[in-house]
């Protein structure tokens, strides 16, 4: 909506007031993901393949996850830090404005510094894509785009779930990091390498595999099943349960105050 762009404008202007801090933080983000990349690089210098995937294939996986995560962190940061919004009373202010609450939370924080991570991801992608053996036909490109979009909304959904839980308690929510940061961290390798159980969990419970592993198989030409290509859409559908939890949380807030 147009209002979101206005929010983005004011936030960008706010962050630009602190130019050095902005640039340094973005550089830091870049370096941190660079370290992660180096981790993979060094592992593959020693081992040639892991569970049948080679270096460039893993890189595509890594880059897609990093792109999705950085996009989600950039645009949905308001939900990711929702604990603060509740505890300092900012949500009351949101409730007193004649606009949809989610839109306002979205507009409350947009972290442009994540561009550092995003840049790293793009660089890795641009290295991995030519290096891989994939023949980039239209359907493969669509798969890749869907993976990124699906992944972004999946992480967004996780952030929204976190925010929803914040309405009930702020204590001990660190465990959500297992799925958000953990998803990004361990998603840099195709989820199949962790074993059957993990793959099943990330297929049916938190559909990370639907945006990473299965479409990747299609991308790499290991399967011709076009169903795998559109599985990422289910990642987007993950927003549904997230939204329900959010509304549930708002209702709870409205009946208990703070």
């Amino acid at each position: 909506m147009k209002l979101w762009f206005k929010y983005a404008g004011i936030i960008l202007r706010s962050q630009m007031q602190y130019k050095t801090s902005f640039i340094l933080t973005a550089i830091g983000q870049f370096l941190v993901s660079f370290s992660a990349f180096m981790g993979i690089y060094f592992m593959f210098m020693r081992f040639n393949t892991v569970e049948g995937f080679n270096f460039s294939e893993v890189l595509i996986c890594f880059a897609v996850m990093l792109t999705s995560f950085s996009l989600a962190e950039c645009f949905f940061r308001g939900f990711d830090t929702f604990g603060g919004i509740i505890s300092n009373g900012e949500f009351d202010r949101i409730m007193v404005r004649p606009r949809n609450e989610m839109l306002q939370v979205l507009g409350s924080k947009i972290e442009f510094t994540r561009i550092g991570r995003f840049l790293q991801a793009i660089i890795v992608l641009s290295y991995a894509i030519p290096k891989s053996d994939i023949i980039w036909t239209a359907d493969k490109i669509i798969t890749l785009c869907l993976m990124i979009i699906g992944g972004t909304f999946l992480f967004a959904g996780l952030f929204i779930i976190y925010a929803g839980i914040c309405f009930f308690t702020i204590e001990g929510l660190e465990f959500m990091n297992i799925f958000t940061d953990g998803g990004k961290e361990f998603g840099k390798y195709p989820l199949s390498i962790y074993g059957e159980g993990i793959l099943k969990f990330f297929t049916f419970a938190i559909p990370l595999a639907l945006i990473q592993y299965y479409p990747l198989l299609y991308l790499l030409g290991r399967t011709d099943n076009t169903l795998y290509m559109i599985l990422p859409v289910f990642g987007i559908l993950f927003l549904l349960p997230s939204y329900i939890l959010w509304r549930f949380g708002v209702r709870h807030y409205k009946s208990t105050g703070s």
Partner: protein, 275 residues
């Protein structure tokens, strides 16, 4: 213009939250502008303004005017009306010099004036003020109070105020509602309540010579340097009798009679209702 007073925990904040639509009560009705606040949140809050004393609604690092512009978009205020509101508020609250300053660089008093302006940009019919003058210096307090009086009178904006600052109450409200333990204990005119709850006045006499006798109903508070201050129990002795008695004891050069402060009134109200 209504003032809500009551001890902490009595339910003042909850009342404001219910009226602004933030909180859903378990039972009871509330109708504002023909709506139930929590059932039609977006339409309801479009017509109200809220100032939370301790928390700012302005964006911190950008000039105040940028915050105002964004509020214009949030409230979907049309261009002409915005300009009108904006010009009026800026001149009434003397914001010309600070409107382009980032919020973080403003003093508390300046920020509060901007906050009040921000809450009125969309011309709300009702303004809720939750501790608006807390922490302000004297000059800013007066400026804010004058402004609130003005919009109440001139723009016919309903103002609902909760505060612990008794001078706010004294300066602004005619009607006050006392809340205690979640119930309305009193709802009445300020002056009438003052008369009801404070039965004493303070008499200050400056004299050139003389010695006071002991009078019933007059409790001496201070008598030094030819200045005599006493509390007069008006239930016991009328003001005119007291003045007559005192002029017999003293050669009075100056005399003043003041009613008890709102603070004292509130304290006795609390005491009577056991809160």
């Amino acid at each position: 213009m209504v003032g809500y007073i009551g001890p902490n925990g009595a339910g003042k904040s909850c009342t404001i939250k219910i009226m602004s639509g933030i909180l859903n009560p378990d039972s009871g009705t509330c109708v504002i502008n023909g709506r139930t606040p929590w059932k039609d949140r977006i339409n309801h809050v479009r017509e109200i303004g809220v100032v939370f004393g301790q928390r700012s609604q302005l964006w911190w690092d950008v000039p105040v005017i940028d915050s105002f512009e964004l509020l214009k978009d949030i409230y979907k205020i049309d261009e002409k009306q915005y300009k009108q509101s904006f010009d009026e508020l800026v001149s009434l609250l003397s914001l010309e010099s600070i409107i382009k300053t980032p919020t973080r660089q403003l003093s508390l008093g300046q920020r509060m004036r901007c906050e009040v302006a921000a809450s009125l940009l969309h011309n709300p019919k009702i303004l809720f003020l939750d501790e608006p003058t807390i922490g302000l210096d004297a000059v800013s307090k007066i400026a804010v109070r004058e402004f609130i009086k003005y919009i109440n009178k001139d723009r016919k904006t309903t103002v609902i105020l909760t505060t612990h600052d008794m001078q706010d109450i004294e300066a602004l409200t005619k009607r006050i509602i006392l809340i205690g333990k979640g119930k309305i204990l009193l709802d009445g005119d300020l002056n009438a309540l003052k008369k009801q709850y404070t039965k004493h006045k303070i008499i200050t006499v400056e004299y050139s010579s003389g010695m006071p006798d002991i009078f019933d109903g007059l409790t001496v508070l201070e008598n030094t340097n030819n200045r005599y201050v006493a509390a007069l129990d008006t239930g016991c002795v009328s003001v005119s009798s007291a003045i007559a008695m005192l002029s017999e004891s003293f050669d009075i050069t100056d005399i003043s009679v003041t009613s008890a402060s709102v603070e004292e009134m509130v304290i006795s109200m609390y005491r009577e209702h056991n809160i």
